[in-house]
Subunit: 356 residues, 2 copies
Amino acid sequence: MYAVIMAGGKGTRFWPRSRQKRPKQLLNIVGRRSMLQQTVGRISSLLPLQNILVVAGEDHGQEVRDQLTDLLKENIILEPVGRNTAACIGLAALLVHHRDPEAVMVVLPADHLITEENLFLGALRAAVAMARRQEALITLGIRPTAPKTGYGYVEAGEGVGTAQDHVFYQVTSFHEKPDQERAEQYLKMGNFYWNSGMFVWQAKVILEGIQRYLPTLYADLQKLNGFDDYYQLNTEIARIYPDLESVSIDYGVMEKANNVLMLPADFGWNDLGTWASMVEIWPKDDQHNIHQGELIALDSRRNVVYSERRLCVLLGVEDLIVVDTEDALLVCPVGRAQDVGQILDKMKQRGMEQYL
Amino acid sequence: MYAVIMAGGKGTRFWPRSRQKRPKQLLNIVGRRSMLQQTVGRISSLLPLQNILVVAGEDHGQEVRDQLTDLLKENIILEPVGRNTAACIGLAALLVHHRDPEAVMVVLPADHLITEENLFLGALRAAVAMARRQEALITLGIRPTAPKTGYGYVEAGEGVGTAQDHVFYQVTSFHEKPDQERAEQYLKMGNFYWNSGMFVWQAKVILEGIQRYLPTLYADLQKLNGFDDYYQLNTEIARIYPDLESVSIDYGVMEKANNVLMLPADFGWNDLGTWASMVEIWPKDDQHNIHQGELIALDSRRNVVYSERRLCVLLGVEDLIVVDTEDALLVCPVGRAQDVGQILDKMKQRGMEQYL
């Protein structure tokens, strides 16, 4: 059993806390350790450290190594450029398959929050058992608790079997992020789940999926076969990566494959997509303000405040996000949290690289 | 001719820029020099420096001396506690009268903005000429340009004479800060002026007014007569000041006296009462945002931003005040600017003295 942790995210929507050099997964957004450290720590009770691979951006190589000092250097794979999840997962599957052709691999994003660790580990164990038994692509679906428009949805069909008391379902179809009305329908349906981006499968099964549905990507990745030496391998990755097809594993393989199963799960999951996610994470005061750092709030309700070193004072404001860092300050309504990335485009236009 | 500059204000509504140790008049809110320095500089073309008196709070003595190095030490009068304008003006009038029983004195707040300096000096010259000629209490009324609820109003009656081509009017009555409806009536009336808090009179005439309408204050101030030595005088001020009657010169004398004249003036005056005043002062961008410091504004309109060192980014917000200083950050709607002082009460309750 192997785990592949995808740590290539840019996390631009957590600006100004997240920066190009320090995206969300490398920050301690929740808790004392970084999201990446928490992700590795969480999985490490299931398998030995030498079976944990982390795929990250080349720019973050040093930081990732510094954060994961227990990890083998060879297990940190650096992408010279981001090429979406299919390339990342294909590369990792190739490496895992090379080490053990029969390996089951768990794929986990590095920047998600999970509060119920035991439930999470139980679900993974069940999925691994199922993946050993059956040549399936297993996705973890999160039981929705609200009509969220920020998540993709997975529609479950018939139950097809159990492993360790967990029931697995056929997947009828994948659905893009819905509008509000549709999200409410999905919630009512009962068989729609949030697409968590967490997968379990045999390395060889996902490689077969990529070979079948993304043959060009598969062929390009084959160029990496035969490089046992870490430095040679990295040199070759750096050479081929920029030309790889950039497509998500969902769109490129999962939506097309017919051996896809879903395991419903309910372990306090949050993808921490934007500052607005903090509404569900941080504790609230009696006016429903949530904050990290010193806050005085007068006649102010439902605000999200992150202030590193300064006292933040709110007077008569509602539903605002206020993020105060050493060199930059953001103020925006909670309802605009998903647009924070637009700020970075604006700064690029103006040549304000120091703030990116 | 003497000038008395009242620099005792606390300026709590400019928090977090203004602090107990550095109220508004000691800050360079507009321009490079402090409001106090600008006030002294503006008047100094009319009279010699040794005829300019500054009355300030004891806490600010060193800062005032540092800012006004050209001023005679003896001309900086320190109040151990604030006792409103009647005590301040009475004290100053006593000192001026002691130096020259025939002196005309100009009373100016230290924290007001005046953009048309020549018009201002012309008005003062005329008022001084009138005050020499007539035993009147002259107040400068500002021709209103909008139905402001933040100012008191002076109602002008009959014209009673001219000096240097300026017409002076009898004052019919003084009016407290009005509500919106009343402010609009006042604006339409045409003979209502903003009460600027600037006065011109003979020292002996205002002392007579205080003697008549505030006899207790007058009697208490008489205890200061006879102290020629600066240190003795200050010791005596420190002794008697806490027990002085605390009342404004408007309420205590001007509203009751029958020798009050008003000089209408129009010299780009603003009392800089709150952060919202900045809407009329600082330049606007094409989205009507006004700012000091680096700002990026996306879908954001009519905001007032002061940011000392940090980049401030606004996304999707309107009519907000954002003030960012080294240790504290304020966010409030423009419409709540007058309530910023409430924050200080809250901080006192919580024992957060370091931010006051």
